[in-house]
């Protein structure tokens, strides 16, 4: 039974592949300590990894002068992860559907799709410059709207 204590941690990291691994491992540890089960923790870690890849590769484009931030918060209701970059900004409406027949054999473009598949909520916010992705995993399955 999760308690009502809120725990938080945050990271500011360089735009490198090593940072992707750091964010992924932090997400894995944080989700496990927050009480998510062993089936859910790897999915959360993968979604957070994909968000970090998106921030570093597509947002900051490996620019060493730019940073990403990753913040993690767990409360009695959910795990909330925010990943932000300093890139030109991402319009989620322009992301192609990787399941569409014309895209199914593309060698890229599945990251945001996987994030949405493994998290309960995904929100985009423009930072001018940059993009913040908020990933939310509820402790219990989300209730369908009435």
């Amino acid at each position: 039974m999760p308690d009502s204590t809120t725990s938080r941690t945050s990271l500011t990291l360089a735009s490198t592949i090593e940072s992707v691994n750091t964010v992924e491992h932090t997400a894995e540890d944080f989700a496990a300590r927050a009480g998510f089960d062993s089936d859910t923790v790897p999915n959360i870690a993968m979604a957070v990894r994909e968000a970090a890849v998106n921030a570093i590769l597509h947002g900051n484009a490996y620019d060493i002068s730019k940073r990403i931030t990753a913040s993690f918060e767990a409360n009695s209701d959910a795990l909330v992860v925010r990943i932000s970059d300093q890139g030109p900004g991402l319009d989620p409406g322009t992301i192609p559907d990787p399941l569409a027949p014309e895209n199914i054999l593309r060698g890229s473009g599945r990251g945001i799709f996987l994030i949405r598949a493994f998290m309960d909520e995904v929100h985009f916010r423009q930072l001018h410059p940059g993009t913040e992705l908020t990933l939310i995993k509820h402790r219990a399955p989300a209730q369908p709207p009435a």
Binding site: I104, G107, S108
Partner: protein, 115 residues
């Protein structure tokens, strides 16, 4: 853990035994370079054994797709062998499970190249 590749030949099929993580960076690049090299040497029948692949991300999935299409476009065939549950689930989610020719028995997979 980064990805490792061991290559062997069985009945005209080049089998790549992959292990570790196929992720953005080293793992994906290793897979791309290895498939490119063996295709350049004339291998038309390539079997990727993913039984020891512990993790794959979207970049790794993308490299599998790129390997599949590049071998196919060169007139060859690329099949997958021994998917772990995680990789199986990811290919299901991304609707790639029916794109790849996937086997769980090496001898059967090798025979399938001869049809």
């Amino acid at each position: 853990m980064s990805m490792k590749v061991a290559t062997r030949q069985v009945d005209g099929v080049t089998i790549l035994d992959l292990s570790g993580r196929i992720t953005l960076g080293e793992g994906s690049i290793t897979l791309r370079d290895t498939v490119h090299d063996i295709a350049a040497k004339g291998s038309k029948h390539i079997l990727l054994n993913l039984g020891e692949v512990s993790y794959i991300d979207s970049s790794g999935i993308g490299e599998l797709v790129s390997a599949f299409t590049s071998v196919k476009n060169a007139g060859g065939e690329l099949k997958l062998l021994n998917l772990t549950k995680k990789v199986h689930d990811l290919l299901q989610i991304t609707k790639l499970y029916t794109v790849f020719d996937i086997w769980d028995n090496e001898a059967s997979a090798i025979s399938a190249f001869k049809q």
